[in-house]
């Protein structure tokens, strides 16, 4: 039986809302993670019919603080344009749930949390690199346990972008009876070789940082800040389009009007350095390794005998697939693959490619067509809820 606790996070000294499942969770890798801890936030109220729950799935470096000030950074939540009163995911109407993913570092079971043995006994040290490998499916199973705990039998919708979109697809495949509608945004049924390659650069940067200490940096009172920052900088480039970078920074210099060929700093360099250094304040390097691996492992077709369509055979779920024209990390072609697999099983699917020059990150930004699409789709789904 689960108990809700507000336990302090070992390293950050911040209290996250969490639920502990002493029975743990059997992972795809064969390990039983015991106990399972899921940190989460909810917004709005579950109605009496329990028919208005929407699960938001966060991306690689996101967390459960969707629509409120982040307790670590003090910045607004990561999807305050989408989730909130009167917004497309309207917290006046919907009961919105978001959980920190398994392997994350905002309070859910992950490398930064205290290691436990097979019986769930604490070992007096963080998991670090000993944390068992997790998959997108494991993340979804952990979320399903949270829904049980919250008394949500069926989701009105599940929505997420990027890795969040992978979870959305996995939800629909794993629990078709618990999902009425699904909105996978800027995502794919598998990580491509190019996607994996970029992740590997980030992982190598972390590994190469002398402060990494084979993942046991806590022993030395340091964090591999330079490696993690480089990982973030590389990844951040993949989230933006060339047009967006050119528009934001061009070739402008931070250091002066003209090149001096000595200590010049381009605006784009300064921006990336800022992105890297602010990221290390809030993110754990071992978590980054763990979650990027989970994304690389993801292959919905492989989970279903080599066919994405097989994952969705006879699915009752209504899908709304959304991509962005300038996203080269999860390009529209990847979304179209999802749509074609859904068409092959005559599933109910909407598909929009939104014209934007903002790249992969567009799903987090102010894109009126995205908001219109999501609110319209949810309204259409609400007419058909059963």
């Amino acid at each position: 039986m689960a108990e809700t606790v507000r336990a302090p996070l070992a390293t950050a000294g911040i209290t996250h809302q969490r639920v502990v499942f002493p029975e743990g969770l059997a992972l795809d890798c064969g390990v039983v993670l015991r106990p399972l801890v899921v940190a989460y936030r909810t917004y709005g109220r579950l109605n009496d019919a329990k028919s208005n729950a929407i699960l938001v799935c966060h991306a690689l470096t996101g967390d459960q603080y969707v629509a409120e000030t982040h307790p670590v950074t003090g910045k607004p939540g990561w999807w305050t344009s989408m989730v909130g009163p009167g917004l497309p995911v309207d917290t006046d109407r919907f009961f919105v749930i978001c959980a920190n993913v398994l392997g994350g570092c905002m309070g859910s079971s992950g490398p930064r949390e205290e290691m436990t043995d097979a019986e769930g006994r604490p070992q007096g040290r963080p998991w670090g690199m000993q944390f068992p490998p997790v998959t997108i499916r494991d993340m979804v199973r952990a979320q399903a346990k949270l829904l049980d705990h919250l008394g949500v039998p069926k989701l009105f919708s599940v929505i997420g972008g990027s890795m969040g979109g992978m979870q959305v697809l996995e939800w629909a495949a794993l629990h078709p009876g618990r999902v009425f509608s699904a909105i996978p945004i800027a995502t794919a049924t598998h990580h491509s070789a190019q996607n994996i390659a970029f992740h590997e650069i980030g992982r190598q940067a972390i590994n190469a940082d002398p402060d990494f200490h084979g993942g046991e940096y806590w022993k030395h009172g340091v964090v591999p800040a330079r490696g993690l920052a480089v990982a973030r900088m590389t990844a951040h480039i993949t989230y933006l389009s060339e047009e967006a970078l050119t528009r934001k920074f061009g070739r402008r210099l931070r250091t002066g009007p003209m090149l001096t060929f000595s200590n010049d700093l381009f605006e784009v360099e300064s921006y990336l350095q800022y992105q890297g250094s602010s990221f290390v304040q809030r993110f754990d390097a071992n978590s980054y390794l763990s979650i990027t691996r989970a994304m690389d492992y993801f292959d919905l077709a492989a989970e279903h005998g080599g066919s994405v369509a097989a994952a969705f055979r006879n699915t009752p779920v209504r899908f709304c697939v959304i991509s962005f024209s300038s996203d080269w990390l999860f390009p529209t072609a990847m979304s179209r693959e999802i749509v074609r697999a859904l068409n092959a099983v005559a599933a109910n699917v909407s598909f929009v490619e939104i014209t934007s020059d903002k790249g992969h990150d567009a799903f987090l930004l102010d894109e009126p067509d995205l908001f219109r699409t999501v609110s319209g789709f949810l309204a259409g789904a609400a007419e058909r809820w059963r």
């Binding site: 709304c320 068409n343 092959a344 598909f351 929009v352 219109r372 007419e383």
Partner: protein, 215 residues
């Protein structure tokens, strides 16, 4: 259902203008599974879903129209009739509808074949190039005829595969489709008095509307 959720209003042309869509809707049985190809902003789907309780889907090539339809709560995907019908399974739909779009496809014969593969029935409407005004304009001016239905110059029209009602009958016969019902209608979609006679319809109807099945 969460209370107070209403779909965005449809932004396209008022339905009163589209009697041809009404005629198509009349051909569809309630609660059927329907695919509307080239569904635009979803005007026909809207009627079918809300008045006939069909399980309706749409595909559309123009992204602005797709967004409008989805924002209206209709299940529409961005796809191309020429390439994407192949991804649907056999007999997935009771009706596959192609309203005023056949003439704009790259391979109309293949599109029709796909429609009758994935649907038990196909409903097709198209502008009739055999209409007397078209014939007369070509005869008298020697220029490509332009009418209310075909209002673009030859060099920028999307209508690349025009046909007459008689041509369409001939294709149905050649490819073994049974014409279950057909109508000659005017531009506004009103049924016309000569709808019973193929020869007269081919001369006077501005649009042909066909309900086909595989033989």
């Amino acid at each position: 259902m969460p209370e107070g959720l209403a779909p965005a209003p449809r932004t396209g042309r008022p339905l009163a203008d589209r009697l041809d869509l009404r005629l198509i809707a009349e051909m569809v049985e309630p609660r059927a599974r329907v695919l509307d190809i080239g569904c635009g902003d979803g005007a026909l789907l809207d009627i079918l879903v809300h008045e006939k309780d069909v399980d309706g889907r749409g595909i559309e090539l123009d992204m602005a129209l797709v967004t409008a339809a989805v924002a209206h709560g209709l299940p529409v995907i961005h796809a191309d009739a020429d390439t994407d019908l192949a991804f649907y399974p056999d007999a997935a739909f009771d009706y596959v509808i192609l309203s005023r779009t056949l003439q704009a496809t790259e391979r109309p014969r293949e599109v029709l074949a796909q429609m009758l593969r994935i649907g038990r029935r196909a409903i097709v409407s198209f502008p009739n190039f055999g209409h007397w005004q078209v014939r007369l304009k070509l005869l008298l001016t020697g220029r490509m005829p332009r009418t209310k239905a075909l209002d673009r110059a030859w060099y920028d029209t999307p209508n690349i595969h025009l046909c007459t009602i008689s041509d369409f009958f001939a294709l149905c016969e050649a490819d073994g489709y049974r014409v279950e019902r057909w109508l000659g209608v005017d531009e506004a979609g009103r049924k016309t008095p000569w709808r019973r006679n193929r020869w007269l319809a081919n001369l006077f109807a501005e649009q042909g509307l066909f309900l086909l099945t595989r033989e």
